[in-house]
Symmetry: C2
Subunit: 737 residues, 2 copies
């Protein structure tokens, strides 16, 4: 069932496979040049690059040739691998906090990846065409910090390693892209990283399909990930990996650190499924490296095989020993998440023959790795040359791709936003959203996305494009299936691939509950995903309380660095999209109605940017009798209540409170001009929980909303039964003024 | 690879399999009596019941014999199946809202299950030993309503079918256990139901192992589920199904409605994995029924085979046509979630030869189904007799099981709660939580649970019990692996199995983001799960912002019908458990510290029940100068700040605000006695978002908290850097009074 290595590799692996063996040395075999046994199209691209490296610069060529020879010297590889292990051990020991087990077990695959396989430029971690690496098992971050350090990234100097997990350091407790250049995405919450990697690989496949030309493969990189048993157990990983195979992401290569240990002990207690069989069922190519502890050649051969399979993602199951090298703690949960302790560190030093001081990098290891700085610069320079040639031949495509790489928007993109007048027939904001998406997709080349199997309900199809699929990766409608959680995390990967990709994704607002962990990571990692969340209240009607959001608006208003927007009509929907597109490091959640809403007098695109603004007012001197505050579908109710109250002689201001976060960002003067402190007669109305509204309406005000679950019935009936009505607003206002 | 039917069944299936055929009739074969070809232990139990039925009552015997004969008359089965189809069609049509497609395709399996296989008592939907059925594809609820109606449940009368999806009806838009007796769990959000079913099957296996005696199998039922393509795509389903196989839940039989259609169209666009292979990888027994539209015998044979496999759960993949019978809409997404429309309803009536009025149940169908009322009563009576005999032989076990079945607690259970004094050395509330769990498990027989691979961090192990595992199902520590979402949904299933089972589950508080959809269903469906959520703030330190909850307290305070509790020390942790145990229809979330906290003077178990209460006060006449309000680990800071302020001559009240929901439930008099309206000088402190605190501190008060993401560093340092300190509280208080 499980896929096998090539015959010769199988013989090697038989010779060296011993999961628990500490001192076993692999059979030393000179590595074959990469192009020997690879014949497929994508692999030939790889060969192209290798030869290009050798031709491009004599300095690089010498080093590159040297590399192949040196890499074959197993003793130096052993030394490099042990350097990685001890940097992790020492940093965790100094912090007295962290996870040494994974870096000790995964150091060999880490070494092979960063030293022999991956293409990157340490002095420009943002070089567009770099290979991407994601440590989905983020707790093992010292592995990646050690690798970035050896490779010459400025973000991880020796002092950074010594400051592991300390305030203000570049080496936090889990990998954070916003702290440490060289880290692609923020991981730690398990399963997210592999889904991010699917997004990165999707982005590459998409851009390659759109912009590569025969002989000008300007977009061409791999995406690598390491995931552990924990990631494998998480549902999000299964969702994402099902999609990765469906999309045929052949340049996604995931290493499964199969160490049989999780925090609670042996995985036998909770995880006895056949992972290989599951992945084959999902449609992946599966390879098993039996000796991940010292089997460098096995790892190399597996990567070679993985690259040769171009129509499927590959899972390389690498059996390792957690905490490899620790005589008393290896292969046990005790090495997973705690410092080894001085005594065991000493024992491990003895066991692995490592006489050095903490944080020591031996000179020959340093020298060996030092080539990555010039090589990386050469790779980027070579690509720049290639891009210049591409630019000459394909000016329009080059300009467009450049805007995606750099994240620049066309100067007149905002003109595409539709505008409405009160005379424009009313519509559901989900439909207005689709108008915006379609208008924007025409002018923003990096806008792409889709829905979790609700495209026709969320109204997210881009009509001028087809589906992003295995054989049509140039298209821009992504079909996520019913996989909300992976959808969010995949979009994080797309957004963080390069600044000009603007992914949007959609489901019913209530099902943000399925993807909240991914959305939080959008916010934390600065991934400007646009969340198109329709059916945003009891207004969805008959589907009932399982489908009706109540607490969701509040729950996102409470989340840092995310923009919760609830537009009321056409202009506000356009305004919400303007905000969402411009906020590239702050994700936006758009709560949109299922039901039809009128275009209200006074709403505007510009108003939305203020978060809260006056849409109508018959008062003078900033002293209304009462302020009515509404959002989304209830702004209409506030406006109608104002009409009633004004007929009764009241001076009434109506405020649209479309985004609390944006309002918070305004000056005190502006805020006072909308919500003057002296006016305490305030009534809010929103078809959701009143939780949090006291901040806006104040102790003297009244918040109208729904603090219980909803119900199954036609929408109008539910609104009436829950008292979310014009009459309720009028009564509340009259009680206050 | 896929499992196969028996040879004879394979021949039948070859004769009848045609997914898209509308009019095909299955080969009519007399059904074999159930005991003919079944030899395993569990199957023999089934046979035992069948014979018992025949012996118990002459009336029942005659009907039971009749049933076997009648069931063999395919024409009547066809008629019954079409009755189900048209009840669904007619109800959706009348409501002009709903999902006819699934009921039309799944009517045959529904008929076989409810009419031929399942054991239940329509007049007592809560009979303990009933078979459980879960419609994981909850949007198809008209299938279940039609079946409950035919079977004679009082909850679904003809008028209820006619009120489908209307305000106040017993037939809401998705199955809701709290609205409709006969519905076991609340489904609709996809994937939840199959995970609930895993919980129900776990509960059965656990109770059977604890209470059954040789010859007295007092706990003995199956759990059936129907899940669709949507459920299959959701990660939670994979998590739950991995566990189901790991635990060897042989009495869980899941039907996968393989109709190749989801809302966005053919599943080919997003779901091309090999589900059979994945389930075999997970460790399930897999059977494929090729003709689910009319292949009654195939369905019967599959169930027979599934029952014979006792060490694994079984997935019966039933290939059906969505909207079977509709000449123009079958096998298309258009029949998934909308009424057929009058014209297509007529065409379907013609096509299926159904001349009847809407909602008509033919007399012979009615008569055929009518036997379930007396049979169900007999089943229950027979079980009651069995239980009486069991009670005589095993008095202690019977009493304990009875308390689990009825949900009664031992009269003195509360005495088990530990109590503390300020002299008791301080401890982390996660450790205090473990003391409570262990104390309670000794006196509450239905308490069981565990962690998502963080048992040693969440401190959830019950020391006197072993692990609930495949071969030790009588034990009470459940190992969920890193599967938070399934964990929550499985606990919902356990809680809703019978009132006396009290499941608890645990992870880091921040990872409630992974399981929020399940937690919301705990709240909505009245499943009193205890969520043990540790590492509840920046106080966890070095793991950093991915692991530090900020908005989570607010996000649960905003959720209806859930109790968010944040105890500050030993007494409050015990108080939180008291509340959690007593609230059987309202789940509790306990936010617990990683770090050590002192036992504070003034805290109490009784205080917790009020939600907010005074722990110290040097004011008189209910007129303190300032009120300091803290929760959990920050109550200590409030108490220390009070000391400082009192030394400066202030009259200071310190309030522990352990649960906002419980405080809300108190009388206005009580609330005024704690937070007098006249005292507007109020300062709150909590190491989380300030969002929502304005309700408590009022417009004039100050809320100290953290409105950004956290950081990776030692906990003390983070508290200081974020200004969550005694000094900050003192300064805020001094600015107010």
């Amino acid at each position: 069932m499980a896929s096998s290595l090539t015959l010769s590799q199988a013989l090697f692996s038989a010779a060296v496979s011993d999961r628990t063996s500490v001192a076993a040395s692999p059979v030393s075999i000179p590595a074959l040049p990469a192009h020997r046994s690879i014949s497929s199209f994508r692999a030939s691209r790889l060969v192209g690059v290798s030869s290009a490296r050798r031709i491009a610069s004599p300095v690089i060529r010498a080093q590159a040739v040297g590399t192949v020879e040196k890499t074959a010297e197993t003793s130096l590889v052993d030394k490099s691998v042990n350097t990685i292990r001890f940097l992790a051990i020492d940093a965790v020991e100094k912090a007295n906090s962290g996870h040494p087990g994974l870096p000790m077990g995964c150091a060999p695959m880490g070494h092979v990846l960063y030293d022999e396989v991956m293409r990157y430029n340490p002095k420009n971690p943002y070089w567009f065409n770099r290979d991407r690496f994601v440590l989905s098992a983020g707790h093992g971050c010292m592995l990646q910090y050690a690798l970035l350090h050896l490779a010459g990234y400025d973000s991880v100097k020796e002092e950074d390693l010594k400051n592991f997990r300390q305030w203000g350091s570049k080496t936090p407790g889990h990998p954070e892209n916003f702290e440490t250049p060289g880290i692609e995405v923020t991981t730690g919450p398990l399963g997210q990283g592999i889904a991010n990697a699917v997004g990165l690989a999707l982005a590459e496949k998409h851009l390659a399909a759109r912009y590569n030309k025969p002989g000008s493969e300007i977009v061409d990189h791999y995406t690598y990930a390491i995931l552990g048993d924990g990631c494998q157990m998480e549902g999000i990983a299964n969702e994402a990996c099902s999609l990765a195979a469906h999309w045929g992401l052949g340049k996604l290569i995931a290493f499964y650190d199969d160490n049989h240990i999780s925090i609670d002990g042996d995985t036998e207690i909770a995880f006895t499924e056949n992972v290989d069989a599951r992945f084959e069922g999902l449609g992946w190519h599966v390879i098993w490296v039996k000796n991940g502890n010292t089997g460098y050649d096995e790892i190399r051969a597996a990567i070679k095989e993985a690259k040769a399979v171009t129509d499927k993602p590959t899972l390389i199951k690498v059996t390792t020993t957690i905490g490899f090298g620790s005589p008393n703690k290896a292969n046990s949960y005790s090495v997973h998440g705690s410092a080894l302790g001085a005594k065991e560190v000493d024992a491990t030093r003895k066991n692995l023959g490592w006489p050095h001081e903490p944080f020591h990098v031996p000179e020959d290891v340093k020298k060996h790795w030092s080539r990555h700085v010039p090589e990386g610069a050469a790779l980027e320079a070579e690509w720049n040359t290639k891009f210049s040639e591409y630019e000459k031949k394909y000016a329009a495509e080059a300009a467009e791709l450049k805007s995606i790489i750099e994240g620049t928007l066309p100067s007149d993109w905002e003109k595409a936003l539709p505008r409405y007048t009160p005379e424009t027939p009313g519509d559901a904001t989900r439909n207005l959203s689709q108008a915006n998406l379609n208008a924007l997709a025409k002018v923003i080349p990096g806008l792409l996305g889709g829905s979790a199997d609700l495209a026709s309900s969320n109204m997210t199809l881009l009509k001028m494009f087809g589906d992003f699929q295995k054989d049509t990766p140039e298209e821009r409608n992504i079909r996520f299936g019913v996989r909300e959680h992976a959808m969010g995390a995949i979009c994080n990967g797309i957004a963080l691939h390069c600044p000009g990709l603007i992914p949007y994704c959609a489901t019913f607002f209530v099902f943000t509950d399925y993807m909240r962990a991914a959305m939080r990571l959008s916010a934390l990692s600065g991934a400007g995903v646009i969340y198109v969340m329709t059916h945003d209240s009891i207004g969805l009607g008959e589907d009932g309380p399982t489908h009706q959001p109540i607490e969701h608006l509040a729950s996102f208003r409470a989340m840092p660095n995310i923009l919760m927007l609830r537009p009321a009509d056409g202009n506000e929907t356009a305004g919400a999209y303007r905000v969402a597109v411009l906020n590239r490091k702050r994700p936006s959640v758009l709560a949109l109605s299922r039901q039809k809403l009128p275009n209200l007098p006074g709403t505007s695109i510009e108003g939305v940017e203020k978060g809260g603004y006056i849409i109508s007012d018959n008062s003078a001197g900033n002293k209304p009798d009462v302020i009515l505050i509404g959002t989304g579908s209830e702004l209409e109710i506030a406006a109608k209540a104002a009409d009633v109250l004004r007929k009764g002689g009241k001076a009434v201001r109506v405020v649209s409170f479309v985004s609390w976060e944006l309002f918070d960002d305004q000056s005190e003067t502006y805020k006072e001009s909308v919500l003057p402190a002296a006016v305490t007669a305030r009534v809010s109305i929103e078809a959701g929980t009143t939780f949090g509204w006291q901040k806006i309406v104040g102790s003297a005000g009244k918040a109208i909303g729904i603090d219980t679950f909803g119900a199954s019935a036609p929408a109008g009936k539910i609104y009436k039964e829950f008292g979310v009505t014009v009459e309720a607003v009028v009564a509340a206002a009259e009680s206050l003024c």
